[in-house]
Symmetry: C2
Subunit: 375 residues, 2 copies
């Protein structure tokens, strides 16, 4: 039988690599940014618009779908691909991160986590086995091991949560039954290099077809984040895709790729879009700013997305001021396109052997935080 998943590295430059991740629903060219469809929809964007942007891998959240509409219901309706109308690769997370970030009251024990639903306050429970069962019912191409994301600086607790995450990873592997899904392991360890190395060794030893780095972009500094990526990627196998979870600023994407990351996901582009902020290769633009009220230029003159091809900053600002839903749609299209395009250009730069120069040029023209000048 042909292997349903495989990862080819087609070019390298330093630690950065350009690859192809083959899945049952198509190939993912890496490095790649995966838009997040929390509740089985990338907010305000249709699947047809996602295809036009060039999205390949889309993420959905197990925690949200477990609570609503429920995994059985999605399974009965043909699984997540059919349910949400996305016949391309899908990744579901394990629910672990949301349990620890969205629910107020929770109790972690060796077996799993009991928590109150953020929707109706009902008491719910996820364990490694339940998470895998739910993800098998949802039917994404890539599923994730159930992990505990601890606050990054409390060493004693970070170590305890990491050890438990390792035991849970083994239970996830044992619980898994479907052959058409790839289960990825998750490295934890907070901001502690030795714990990160240890966790990477442990997770790598379990032989997952892909590995993720969890517990970053949760309050640590950028220097700490990049250092942790380096520690972990020095250990994780070269021939498996590496996924940095929950990271989505342009500078973090480029720095992650430089350090050997292949896959990223983040709600940032769509969340910023719903808060009037456009992501560009020059920085962020707050479209509510009055300076845009009479601007006939697009968000970014060099951008080829639907929004930039058809609409002025003045029109987008009008939609925002008038509280029109189309603002969120058009800005989401643009912001997602920006990150997908950044990864496409990064991939080409790696293949052309000029990734270092590409990053240096990008970062020299890039302003952190919001700005409102003309690009």
């Amino acid at each position: 039988m042909m292997q349903p998943f495989s990862f080819e590295v087609v070019a390298r430059q330093g630690s950065a690599r350009a690859g192809i991740f083959h899945t049952p629903h198509g190939d993912v060219l890496t490095p790649v940014f995966a838009p997040v469809g929390t509740q089985a929809t990338v907010k305000a964007v249709t699947p047809a618009q996602l295809e036009e942007i060039g999205a390949s891998l889309v993420l959905a959240n197990t925690y949200h779908l477990f609570l609503r509409p429920g995994a059985d219901q999605v399974a009965e309706l043909g699984g997540l691909h059919t349910f949400m109308g996305w016949e391309h690769p899908i990744l579901t997370d394990s629910g672990g991160f949301q349990v620890f970030s969205l629910t107020g009251i929770r109790k972690v024990d060796e077996d799993g986590v009991t928590f109150k639903s953020h929707i109706d306050g009902s008491v719910q429970r996820l364990t490694p086995e339940v998470s895998i069962a739910v993800q098998e019912k949802l039917g994404a191409d890539v599923i994730m091991a159930f992990d505990e994301c601890a606050p990054p600086y409390e060493r004693a607790y970070v170590e305890k949560a990491m050890e438990r995450t390792h035991r849970w990873a083994e239970r996830c592997l044992r619980a898994k039954t479907r052959q058409d899904q790839a289960l990825f392991g998750i490295v934890q360890g907070g901001v502690f290099p030795d714990l990160r190395r240890y966790s990477a060794e442990y997770i790598a030893s379990l032989g997952f077809p892909g590995n993720a780095i969890g517990g970053l972009s949760v309050g640590e500094t950028k220097a700490e984040m990049y250092a942790m990526i380096e520690e972990v990627n020095a250990v994780l196998p070269e021939d498996k895709p590496r996924y940095l979870m929950g990271v989505g600023t342009p500078e973090d994407l480029l720095n992650g790729v430089e350090r050997g990351i292949d896959i990223f996901d983040c709600v940032l582009p769509t969340r910023l879009a719903r808060h009037q902020s456009a992501m560009t290769f020059a920085g962020r633009l707050n479209l509510m700013n009055a300076s845009h009220a009479r601007s006939s230029q697009p968000i970014d003159l060099n951008c080829t997305c639907y929004t930039c091809r058809h609409f002025s900053r003045a029109y987008l600002r009008h939609l925002i001021v008038a509280r029109e839903m189309l603002a969120a749609t058009l800005l989401s299209i643009h912001n997602l396109h920006t990150l997908l395009q950044l990864m496409r250009l990064a991939r080409q730069a790696i293949m052309d052997g000029c990734y270092v120069e590409f990053c240096a040029k990008f970062l020299s023209g890039y302003q952190l935080g919001d700005f409102t000048e003309a690009i």
Copy 2:
């Protein structure tokens, strides 16, 4: 110079006609339903999606755009077509209806109307001359005479408002300067057949390139509405397009076409979409109903819209329950497609000489109000 506007009747059956309305931004095949883009956007739908649905004529509201972002700003940005990214025909209303329906405090005098903005309470004034000046700056293909829409049953006031509407229509004609816009007159007269006939004669005598019926669908019975359409259309010229303003239920569209109407507009399909209601050829479907939670079928098995080709009722209900914006987008696409498709089928039936049978068949299978059974 070639006439920028002309109307060809290509087929008739009784009073119903199939036509082609030529405008500077393209042809409108009639009968036609025009989606409403109140604030220069059809709510939750992109122009690309409108094109895919097959929309030709789109309406925008002068009242809203006059207040925000302002006509000068739209003009500076290249006019409404460029501003909203719709390079097909656009119609703007005069602002009259909104002044009388959306503003609490207003004062009507012979010269015009003073009112408080529903946005910021500021005192504003519209007159026939201002309305035309604003509509010329907005730059739609079809612009409307400034009229007073009176409560339909108070005869003395209806008559007074009608007479004033006639004087305002003449002032609009005198105020108009652009040759690339068609100014339509508006017939008023409430529910009074003699006033309606008189108003139709008066408006027809002014020689507008198209004529509209205003002041209907504002609280009168359907029988009264249809009777008024008959009175007016018996008088309005056959060789000019006839536009029934603000009407958008399937049954009213078909009854209007039967009585010689060519153009309709209404917020109903997009407003229903934002309130979980799907319009179908069998009636309305409330997608919040729990009976849809596990339904893998589309809203309408016979519908060819994007939504029905890709998404189940269960998914749409999930989006609604989860308060996802995509619900409004997908339902708006479906509802607009339903009315546009109904008018395309009506046109074909007129051309095929079977409009009476078409209407009878449609109305026999059509249930008024909401229903939740499988279609």
